[in-house]
Symmetry: C2
Subunit: 258 residues, 2 copies
Amino acid sequence: MSMLTFVGLGIYDEKDISLKGLEAVKQADLVFAEFYTSPLAGRRLERMEEIYGKKIIVLNRKDLEEKAEEGILKEAKDKNVVLLSAGDPMIATTHVDLMLRAMEMGIKTRVIHASSIVSAVAGVCGLQIYKFGRSATVSPPFGSTISEVPYETVLENRRRGLHTLLFLDVGMKISEALELLEEVERRRERAGKEAGILKEVLFVGVARAGSETQVVKADYADALKRFDFGEPPHVLVAVGELHFMEKEALVRLASAPI
Amino acid sequence: MSMLTFVGLGIYDEKDISLKGLEAVKQADLVFAEFYTSPLAGRRLERMEEIYGKKIIVLNRKDLEEKAEEGILKEAKDKNVVLLSAGDPMIATTHVDLMLRAMEMGIKTRVIHASSIVSAVAGVCGLQIYKFGRSATVSPPFGSTISEVPYETVLENRRRGLHTLLFLDVGMKISEALELLEEVERRRERAGKEAGILKEVLFVGVARAGSETQVVKADYADALKRFDFGEPPHVLVAVGELHFMEKEALVRLASAPI
């Protein structure tokens, strides 16, 4: 049967795919994957092909955006096509957009969900999911421009006692993200804007969540910046007000200095 | 090797467990499961035992809370024990607490993540994950007392243009949740508190997310209350400001009347 199935690979390695996802891959005529919206992390393409028993064709941004109609969508009109991506497939708006375009072309679509840092991060840090405010992404500077959105998001959530999940740009390290936040803080101080969170807010750095080598460490920005988390993927959590159970968990799971 | 592994069963049925989770189950000496923090949904115990190739012992709240030390934790001191639960295992604070107690007893612990409504819901509705504010849970009345927290959370997020994920108590239906929100609104109006969201806010009801019978429907409270979503699990999303891409997706994926 012809259709386009979005299959999530899950949080870290080849074995974080679900049984349902693996079945979809095995039944597919063509298996594509993309790793620009979300990283390979602990996956190796050869291992994936070996475990899933299929050849995997890696697509880039152009293939999924400008060129989708003459590529993956064209194939899905008369083949059973799977698109693999890290984490939960529908976190990336690119995939939602691709699904809508497929629907417009009369292509049957399906989504097979998987584990994601979005839902895993709370438990990894021992924080409560309903105490997370909106999230934001720390992106590399564009020329001399650095987005203040992540900094403002932390400020805004903190005012309400909420935690903030900060996604880091693919490949970015916690130390780089904290340095960008520091630069934003310096600029805001010079501009007389509200600032001062980096000395007051406890951050939790999470590296390789869901892996055997996962590292979770809580500290203030200046100390955390010098902590060696090893290889990405990395994310950061800015901690809001702590329930006593969260406090205990943060000490036990992230050696928080509190 | 003796240890306690928390394995997520994922979003809906027996096949939403990850390959890694299945391996942990197969290697376990004892496999427990609990379905009071998060529902069985599309799972059947017999199907799980058949597919996973293990006998599964279902535990209740008492077994995991007051009686854990003489039960599951005692077993994990010298056996390889797995605890299965729906969704991502660490969303439930009960499991974080159990993990900390295990660590105190010197028991090695491990978490194997899985798909969760927390990360899946955005894509299911076509909404952007970073535009979700804090979430809340709609619980049944306690005597004549109805929690105003879900209502206030929607108000607070809406002020900032954010979406709100409302978890429903295990087994609760969207219609019941909306009726509770309506009762809260009536009480707030009588008390002269800020109210009036139920006529103005677009809600998205999601039933059986991640299943073949998933239903996603967006409408205003009064109409949505009368829509037949079928069996739980159900969740609700209160929509904030919509990006044009979200608007298009909400129309296509949830037949939003906008």
